[in-house]
Symmetry: C2
Subunit: 226 residues, 2 copies
């Protein structure tokens, strides 16, 4: 499948690398490809500059948000939540029309330090904001409730014996995302319902962040035991 | 132990009955004991009136919020979240001083129907509101993330193989609550940290409610797989 991964941070890199390894035609979208290619310093999270990562994943192409989305059948929003609507606006509504837009971001506001607050919550969600801004995209929320390494390799914790949520208004789009998740090793995918259920999935972040502190590792996940 | 359970709804009844069965001296607190004893109609949730339940649990006493708290070593807030601060005010700050106040409520606002919204969240929590209102009580948040029947009998789902969270500022109070949880069968109790971590535990409710819809049952729980 032709897949655009929007965002060059840890989440975008991790997802792009794995989907490329699985044989998909992957392009990473960024605001300014020339600037991204010129980076020589670690990013704000301490990750190596994008070119270092890129040399290890030469099959993944780099393009502007708009070029990446234009070429793709499936678009994955892996940008930081505060920048998501702007990145998708640059990708362009026309380039998203009719396409599955898998939103794996979280509405985290770090402007007042740690722990971050949520800039949208409870009576609305980032996924719904995206859907309202791009009504012709088929938005599906998933994967935002675990660390990036587990998104693409759930077996790294307890052999993958934990749960993954999906939310969305388009049943066919959800089915395609569930199939893609299955190809990544997600065995217990729970369909929460329409896109408003993404509010609950996004509101898992605060306890997730506290659990990371209490457990001393991001390598854990929620399992819905029933 | 002398335990006051504030609230006569499903949660209060379930917790009171189990703690009484375990041999604790349990008193249920209510706004107006005479009115509670006179009830003959099912409550708003369709539960039998309190006197019907009470005849099956004669060892549990009924008293006003203040009398119940006054007699207790441990006070459990099992009132609805919207009424919790008022109920605790009636219980009286002096009757809560130095005591463990186990808060198992949720800040759910059903005034606009289902799903409810949270009337406090993200940058504050109901548990913290209670702690600020009663600074001399030793507030511990726990058990709010599962259905009442699982609070007192976690083995009803998967033999109890799931997780329970505690939050609080008083380490001794948390230790006593963890011991009480152990006596109820909770085997994986995770200390999230100080009382501000109750924000995350309370924000689990929205996804819990959607999971109940998706799974068609309240008999499930979160397990933190690591």
């Amino acid at each position: 499948m032709k897949i655009a991964v929007l965002g060059t941070g840890t989440v975008g890199r991790t997802v792009a690398a794995k989907l490329s390894d699985l044989g998909h035609d992957v392009v990473v979208g960024t605001r300014d490809p020339q600037a991204t290619r010129a980076r020589s310093e670690p990013d704000a999270m301490g990750n190596p500059p994008f070119p270092v990562w890129h040399t290890e994943h030469p099959a993944v192409r780099l393009a502007s948000f708009a070029e990446a989305a234009d070429q793709a059948d499936l678009v994955i929003n892996a940008t930081g939540g505060t920048g998501s609507l702007d990145a998708l606006t640059q990708a362009g509504a026309a380039n998203l029309t009719g396409k599955i837009l898998l939103d794996i971001s979280n509405p985290l506001d770090f402007s007042r330090g740690f722990p971050p607050s949520l800039f949208v919550k409870d009576t609305d969600s980032l996924a719904e904001q995206i859907q309202r801004a791009f009504p012709d995209a088929r938005v599906v929320k998933s994967l935002n409730t675990m660390t990036a390494a587990l998104m693409v390799d759930p077996a790294r914790v307890a052999g993958g014996d934990h749960s993954t949520f999906v939310s969305g208004n388009d049943e066919d789009a959800k089915r395609e995302v569930v199939a893609l998740l299955g190809s990544l090793g997600h065995t217990d995918v729970i369909d929460l319902g329409d896109l408003s259920t993404a509010r609950g999935a996004e509101m898992l972040m605060p306890v997730w962040l506290r659990l990371m502190g209490a457990l001393g590792t991001p390598f854990f996940n929620f399992k819905i035991v029933r």
